[in-house]
């Protein structure tokens, strides 16, 4: 079976996000008020061939843990959908 996986990687709470702070300031420079707490992140999508949804999830979590995120500074979230 084929599944599509989405891995979202974000800086862990408490880790400074200078990019996020800079973007937040740019939003206020646009004249949009009321925005705070902006944090950046990245999203990766790929397809997984696996026998079941749980097997596909396990593969995606493995990729997210061992490569796509650095656990010292980043968290990740994985979602799987059957194609």
């Amino acid at each position: 079976m084929r599944f599509s996986a989405t891995v979202t990687v974000r800086l862990r709470p408490g880790i400074a996000d200078p990019e996020g702070s800079t973007i937040e300031r740019a939003i206020s420079a646009l004249g949009i008020a009321g925005i705070s707490g902006l944090r950046g992140g990245r999203s990766f999508t790929f397809e997984v061939e696996a026998d079941s949804e749980s097997a596909a999830t396990a593969v995606a979590v493995d990729v997210a843990t061992r490569l796509l995120s650095n656990p010292v500074i980043e968290d990740h979230a994985v979602s799987i959908e059957a194609k």
Partner: protein, 222 residues
């Protein structure tokens, strides 16, 4: 004469400076391409600065999967002296050979300037014989050089004398002003500043030679 291997990844760009600095420090030095898997005959390993594998994903994240890195890890596990400079430091943290991570600089500032460093430990292969408190003027040139780790790791680094160099004035938001650290044994060192660019009075400083000479000396006693 000690023989140094300077590992070249696609995107490395400080490898020739590293060779030149190591030669001035009294070693012979050769470039070794990242797909090699043999480091026999070498007494020292340097991971130079640059943008290994384009720094795609995260700085240093893909370089740890280069074929040479298993050999570098074995060389280090056997007590061989290894230093990662700038991008090389990032590679060593991503490879799990040094704790912590290097995050984007505070205020998103790219720094390319001289920095004053203070030697914090004489135990590492890069600072053996250099008195704690010695001030060195060595340039920095990086965007992701802000050292971060959890509190427990920082405590361990401090307790085990693994903080090798600190900035006199913290340029990038690094935890505890850290510019360089070592592993527990002291034979693997990572630092953001570029000692290989401070090896000539004509170019402003020879303080980098102090570190590179200590490193070359470590080969003999290793």
């Amino acid at each position: 004469m000690s023989r140094a291997a300077v590992i070249v990844f696609p995107g490395s760009n400080c490898e020739h400076d590293a060779v030149s600095g190591l030669e001035l420090a009294g070693a012979s030095a050769e470039l070794v391409w990242h797909t090699e898997t043999d480091l026999s005959g070498y007494d020292l390993v340097v991971l130079p600065g640059g943008f290994a594998h384009g720094d795609y994903l995260r700085a240093g994240a893909l370089a740890r999967l280069s074929p040479i890195m298993d050999t570098v890890a074995n060389f280090a596990a056997a007590g061989g002296p290894v230093v990662g400079i700038c991008n090389g430091f990032q590679v060593l943290t991503e490879a799990g050979m040094l704790p912590g991570a290097l995050q984007k600089n505070a205020h998103l500032k790219f720094h390319c300037k001289d920095s004053t460093l203070i030697v914090a430990s004489s135990r590492s292969v890069l600072t053996r014989g250099v008195a704690v408190g010695t001030e060195l003027s060595i340039p920095i040139n990086h965007f992701s050089g802000s050292y971060v780790c959890d509190e427990e790791t920082l405590q361990r680094l401090q307790d085990n004398d693994q903080v090798v160099l600190r900035y006199a004035e913290n340029p990038n938001g690094s935890l505890d002003d850290i510019a360089g650290i070592s592993n527990d044994a002291g034979n693997v060192v990572g630092l953001m500043p570029h000692p290989e660019r401070a090896c000539s009075a004509l170019l402003g400083s020879t303080d980098g030679l102090v570190l590179l000479q200590a490193f070359v000396g470590a080969a003999v006693s290793a």
